[in-house]
């Protein structure tokens, strides 16, 4: 496949409103489990010989109709569009949906799913909030075991240590490649268009990883070899889209407005490991430990001693960012709460930032473009 074909293929996976690729996969006999953002323990799904399918809402491809009659207008888009996909039977190829605890809205969605799609498994996973407690890891291990049992009931295969080792190896390899992609973008953003890199990773969350890894590695090779030239743009990191995802068009708008996005929290659920999973010892305990201790934090899950403000500052410095762009999903309470804390941290260090809200289904970006351009002007024009 050519580079362009790879990207087109990747986009096809998540922009096709009928999810043809997923249905084909189901017809090949693979059993699919949908994953709602953010920190879904997909390793358990894989070990049970099921395919985790990371869904990030309906984007611009669904018109929300049935879900609107079951949800108030102040519910975030990703929740409504995901529910719409379910209600309109467009996710019929799935055997179930997993909802890790990230916010009250997603949690209640799991309840709506149970009632309205009774033939699906709809599982809510409780993540410990008390990271200091000695009981947190054992509790989460217990919770993952519960999940394992429910998934085994679907696949008919109870995962053993070997299943987990193979899974962990696969996840580690893929994670390493994704990490390199991000390193590449931070080093030479002019060579790696944001929207392309994004599409590549996002498809990885839907395809069987073994299928996706070669595509990812080929694209990496292409980008490594690319010899583009830097333009006069502002290096920024983007925060606030760890759950609901902006459309490819919005991603392009951000770059067109004069920004280089050198780090972000898009698709966080696919790349939250800060270290490879250990291949020895009790796999479920290792996984629990990772979720609670070796994990990229976000507004909905912030273990670790470092405060939220400090974590962001560190991230910005590491990426040599000149500014921070908060691209927050409308009605996303966790991100909106964090913004108030984070902006104070940035102001204290007088790091310029911009904040605006988006919705996945947005089709006009005039106002956002204006704000981005002004932000860029305020850094470039006056310095």
């Amino acid at each position: 496949m050519t580079h362009e074909q790879i990207l087109a293929e990747c986009r096809e996976w998540f922009t096709d409103p009928d999810f043809g690729r997923l249905r084909a996969l189901r017809e090949q006999g693979r059993r699919l489990i949908g994953c709602f953002p953010v920190y879904t323990p997909e390793e358990v799904v894989m070990a049970a010989r099921l395919v985790p399918v990371h869904l990030f809402g309906g984007g611009t491809m669904v018109e929300i109709d049935h879900a609107d009659s079951r949800m108030q207008s102040f519910v975030c888009s990703i929740t409504r569009s995901t529910f719409e996909l379910g209600l309109t039977k467009r996710l019929a190829m799935l055997d179930g949906m997993l909802f890790p605890s990230i916010c009250d809205v997603a949690r209640n969605l799991s309840g709506l799913w149970r009632r309205n799609l009774p033939d699906h498994l709809a599982e809510f996973i409780h993540f410990p909030e008390n990271f200091q407690s000695a009981h947190a890891v054992p509790y989460l291990r217990h919770e993952l075991q519960r999940l394992e049992q429910r998934l085994t009931a679907i696949s008919g295969h109870a995962p053993g240590p070997d299943d987990y080792r193979r899974t962990f190896e696969r996840v580690n390899r893929w994670q390493a490649a994704v990490n390199e992609l991000y390193a590449l973008r931070a080093a030479a953003p002019w060579n790696v268009p944001l929207a392309d890199a994004y599409a590549l990773v996002r498809a990885g969350g839907m395809m069987p990883r073994e299928q996706h890894l070669p595509l990812l590695e080929q694209a990496l090779a292409t980008w490594r070899a690319a010899g583009g030239r830097p333009q006069d743009r502002v290096r920024v990191i983007v925060e606030g889209s760890f759950c609901e995802q902006p459309s490819l068009e919005l991603l392009q708008t951000i770059e067109e407005s004069g920004c280089y996005v050198v780090n972000d929290d898009y698709l966080l659920g696919l790349r939250w490991h800060t270290a490879p999973l250990p291949l020895d010892g009790d796999p479920l305990e290792a996984l629990a430990r990772h979720i609670l201790q070796r994990c990229v934090p976000s507004a909905v899950h912030h273990p670790g001693p470092q405060g939220r403000g400090a974590a962001l500052l560190a991230k910005a410095r590491a990426a040599k960012a000149e500014g921070v762009v908060f691209c927050i999903a409308k009605f996303c309470e966790p991100a909106l709460y964090d913004f108030a804390l984070l902006k104070r941290a940035l102001e204290a260090e007088s790091i310029p930032y911009l904040s605006f809200e988006f919705e996945e289904k947005m089709s006009t970006f005039e106002s956002i473009r204006t704000q981005l351009e002004t932000f860029v002007e305020s850094i470039l024009l006056f310095s």
């Binding site: 799991s110 309840g111 200091q132 217990h142 709460y337």
Partner: protein, 429 residues
């Protein structure tokens, strides 16, 4: 006549005095060098903390009071100036606005916390709230993590996890206060609490009578306060003994909350505190009594058998933490509402959806769908907010409430035949 009604109003007045005393003690705490803990209403562990001599502050109660006293609006604006979005919970913004405006609650200035205990039962927004408080006060934050009731049965692992954390909290309190945990006092307090809960359930269930002597929403939201805020002090039990006498007396005299009871409804969702009176009146003019409500269960589903138990102190407390209304999954919530409609012989369901509380409101539109379309139960769906006065549109609400009870009255009176005057026509502003 005078002695005929000896107890009417005690529910309200006694509570005023007790909360007054509570605040007195609280405001003197810093001077006395006594510790102060901030915690939440739902699934709170008052007895455990008061065991170490903590004075307890409930930021929700402060937010609620600001709402009723109509000062919430400015605090919310203040918080929005600080960068909090118009779309996030009004309770949180109210409290944060208050902090940044001198922290003078309607009752007076609140002392800073020695310890923050985030006992969030079914509301993750609370986590965000206490993170903000911890950042503001630089006070130690203990996260009491209460698993969500995701399945119909409680997993024993969940309870073990909660009691495990409670033991860790006890250790922390011993370190902070230098006091040893007094298990005997703890058991004694839980015994009192259990008695108070018995009385509270009696009061709630008195509403099964027709006509009902008690309004389980508009009155309950006040009657329930001591059980949430005064547990672990002798006042709590005293209060419910007195409150029960008031209800007994109402039963004896056949009097109720709304002159003539014309409609019995079950209410789902929190009240709009900034416009509580106006909201109640919109129902009173129709002779509506709320015979059961879910909001009166946010601090514990005692009428569903939840009890503190001196014999199983931590275990029973953990069960209580997990069995607060908003910590129940939507299926459990629906079944509860359905039971209420039947057991309390209600004419309809009123869903008041508030923007602030996603934990409550996401799913209510679906609940409405189930009850109205599947069970065929007259259901009214109205929206405003529990804290933000900007979301209350009197004209709109009144219009919907009037239309709903016009329809109910019509059905009660005539089945289907329309060509008769609607009795509701005589209703005047």
């Amino acid at each position: 006549m005078a002695d005929e009604y000896r107890y009417q109003g005690t529910g309200r007045n006694l509570q005023k005095d007790m909360l007054g005393d509570w605040f007195q003690r609280l405001s003197q705490a810093p001077a006395r060098g006594e510790p102060v803990a901030y915690l939440f209403i739902s699934g709170n562990i008052a007895e455990l903390l008061s065991n170490f001599g903590f004075h307890l502050v409930y930021p929700e109660v402060t937010a609620l009071q600001c709402g009723i006293k109509k000062t919430a609006g400015n605090f919310i604006l203040k918080a929005e100036e600080l960068g909090y979005s118009p779309d996030v919970c009004g309770y949180v913004k109210n409290d944060i606005g208050l902090l940044h405006s001198g922290n003078a609650s309607p009752m007076g200035k609140l002392p800073p916390p020695t310890l923050l205990v985030c006992n969030y039962s079914g509301c993750r927004t609370y986590v965000k709230w206490f993170e903000a408080l911890a950042e503001f006060y630089k006070a130690p934050l203990f996260m009491l993590d209460v698993p969500y009731r995701r399945d119909d049965e409680i997993d024993p692992g969940d309870l073990a996890y909660v009691t495990g954390q409670m033991n860790e909290l006890i250790a922390l309190c011993e370190k902070l206060t230098g006091k040893r945990f007094d298990i005997d006092r703890f058991r004694a307090d839980l015994a009192d609490t259990a008695k108070a809960e018995e009385y509270w359930v009696r009061i709630l269930e008195s509403a099964r009578r027709v006509p009902s002597p008690f309004d389980s929403y508009f009155e309950a939201v006040f009657f329930m306060a001591p059980l949430y805020t005064l547990r672990g002090s002798p006042d709590c039990l005293r209060y419910y003994e007195a409150a029960w006498r008031e209800i007994e007396e109402r039963i004896a005299h056949g009097i109720g909350p709304a002159g003539e009871e014309r409609f019995r409804v079950v209410v789902e969702g929190p009240p709009p505190w900034p416009h509580f009176r106006a909201f109640w009146e919109m129902f009173q003019r129709w002779g509506v009594v709320a015979v059961a409500s879910t909001y009166s269960k946010v601090g514990g589903l005692f009428d569903q058998g939840v009890r503190h138990d001196p014999a199983r102190p931590l275990e029973s407390m953990a069960e209580y933490c997990m069995n607060c209304y908003t910590n129940w999954n939507l299926g459990l919530r629906r079944d509860l509402i359905r039971r209420y409609l039947e057991d309390y012989r209600a004419d309809g369901l009123v869903i008041h959806s508030v923007k602030s509380c996603r934990s409550f409101s996401v799913g209510q539109a679906d609940t409405r769908e189930v009850f109205s379309n599947e069970y065929g139960i007259p259901t009214l769906f109205i929206e405003s907010d529990l804290a933000d006065p900007r979301y209350f549109s009197a004209a709109q609400l009144r219009n919907r409430i009037d239309a709903f009870f016009e329809g109910l009255a019509h059905r009660k009176l005539t089945g289907a035949a329309p060509a008769r005057p609607l009795p509701v026509l005589e209703v005047r502003p």
